[in-house]
């Protein structure tokens, strides 16, 4: 069965957000309300209403699989979108432990 979550960017600052089961928006994919095929359409419509209000922009559904601490996007692009850049900028910000496949130098060690 395909599971999905609803994502968007928050209008005020552009941050990637996910719609929770309670109808709020969270910057953590782990907080996303996981929807089965039957529930996705209605929840998407509710999310899109938030784009009209306007709270968010670019609302869409993302396929996920259950992970240890919550839903994990299936597509590579969506995983990066959920987790942030896989590379940091030394002196500006660092990236936490890589959670992405094929990541950087560690692969070669």
């Amino acid at each position: 069965m395909t599971l999905q979550v609803i994502t968007a960017n928050r209008l005020s600052d552009g941050v990637v957000v996910f719609r929770t089961a309670g109808g709020r928006w969270s910057a953590r994919v782990e907080d996303a309300g996981v929807l089965d095929a039957g529930a996705a359409e209605a929840a998407l419509a509710a999310g899109q209403a938030d784009a009209v209000r306007p709270v968010v922009v670019g609302v869409y559904l993302v396929d996920v699989v259950p992970g240890r601490s919550g839903p994990v996007p299936v597509e590579f692009r969506e995983r990066i979108r959920a987790q942030g850049p896989s590379v940091g900028v030394r002196g500006a910000f660092e990236v936490a432990a890589p959670a992405l496949p094929g990541r950087a130098i560690q692969d070669e060690v």
């Binding site: 552009g14 306007p54 922009v57 990066i80 850049p85 590379v87 002196g91």
Partner: protein
Amino acid sequence: MYRYDEFDRAFLEERVAQFRDQVARRLSGDLSEDEFKLLRLMNGLYLQLHAYMLRIAIPYGTLSSGQMRRLADVAERWDRGYGHFTTRQNIQLNWIRLEDAPDVIAALAEVDMHGIQTSGNCIRNVTADQYAGVAADEIEDPRVWAEILRQWSTNHPEFSFLPRKFKIAVTGAELDRAAIRVHDVGLRMRRDDAGAAGFEVVVGGGLGRTPLVGKTIRRFLPKDDLLGYLEAVMRVYNALGRRDNLYKSRIKILVHDIGPERMAEMVDAEFQAIQAEGGVSLDPELVGRIRAHFAPPVYAPAPVEPPELAALERADPAFARWRRTNTAAHREPGHAIVNLSLKPHGRPPGDATSAEMRAVADMADRWSLGEIRVAHEQNLVLPHVRQADLPEVWRAAQAIGFATPNIGHLTDIIACPGLDYCALATARSIPIAERLADRFRDLDRLHDIGPFRINISGCINACGHHHVGHVGLLGVDKAGEEFYQITLGGSAEEDTAIGRIVGPAVSSAEVVDAIERLVDTYVRIREPEETFLDTCRRVGNAPFKESIYAAA
């Protein structure tokens, strides 16, 4: 350097006020995203993968130290303390909040900067040779004309809704450091038989989905005819460029379809018509004022090759290597052009933190008459350094990690932001650049390999100029995994060439090993003094193909 006059400033102030009102109306819901998107893009504000991104124009890649400091301040106050210098000599800030965007553009306007025409189907920021005005091999400083083009194209009503975006690059030098043959219009200064300076006009170059090398449609155009002639080019494109298919809408497709001869005829006919109506005349007083902004600085007398330089080169081979690799000949005796490598080991190509930007601004004030350039290879340049100051400049560059002696070498990689930031990307670019830099970190090996350019794009749009890398890598998505298509033999210089695809794309896990085997093959089969590009042109792809696909 060019300074805005009251017209430029009034225009920018108006734009800031308009944008502030537009953002307020968007946040309150009075404007929909569809209505607002066009307005924010007109100011260079994109919505990328993770956040809003502001692309700030750096006209012809010239920055003052004060502007650099302001970029540092803006990045620190309203972003995450760093910026990304791009292949179009712009800088991108990746985490701008929409609510803050009006304050950001107001802060930039105070130092004559903005993001106008860094997006949309208009004439974009005009790029130029990063050594403009100081190169030893230059006819004239092309930035005078780049600035005239900037003023002409800014808010030009006839050219604000072109079929597609339009990029112009200018060089005044013999060597092409501005990649003019892969731009919509490339201008190269040259002299006619009588010794007068003018332009060779190249039209219809470009990368992306359909890479094409631009064609010369006018071998010599007198300088005074530049605006009239370009206006004719734009009119032909505006009338005939396709608007029905996004992928066929650039001028390169038009030139390819009708041929450069027909294009030249049509532009000439239009140009004659423009001339008959009185032409696009340039006010000599205005040209004189602009020219004065770019007058060569008054250099204090500087000793040529002071003995302490040679002494330090003997004493410290690292300095000698840096000087050989990262500095270039200056037209003024006793001076040098210094490249600051934004490709330090373990960092995304082209990125600089606010602290580093301030350090570069300080270096510019102390040693380069307050001036900085951005190279399309995503490095910074101090254009006016006294040779006698090179040891101190070297140490200061080392202190911020910008002294890696790799300019023009394998680890001087051009890379787009790729899937780590970009909403259009299909694969990541930066991690591949970082892994390659790690693999080839040994400087003796790097210098033994010699001139070698790797360009990486995270999608077919080719912001990383992969087609014109000696080795190009194009990231593609294969069933949810990152793969990289390899091209060989590309060049963005006078001998512009589009690289040829070697074979099937290579997986992310394999690609660095594949490149290393390719490099080893080159080192094995090269003839004396032969660069990788020379060898590649001599032997073709075959030996390299074999090594790329050899079992590890």
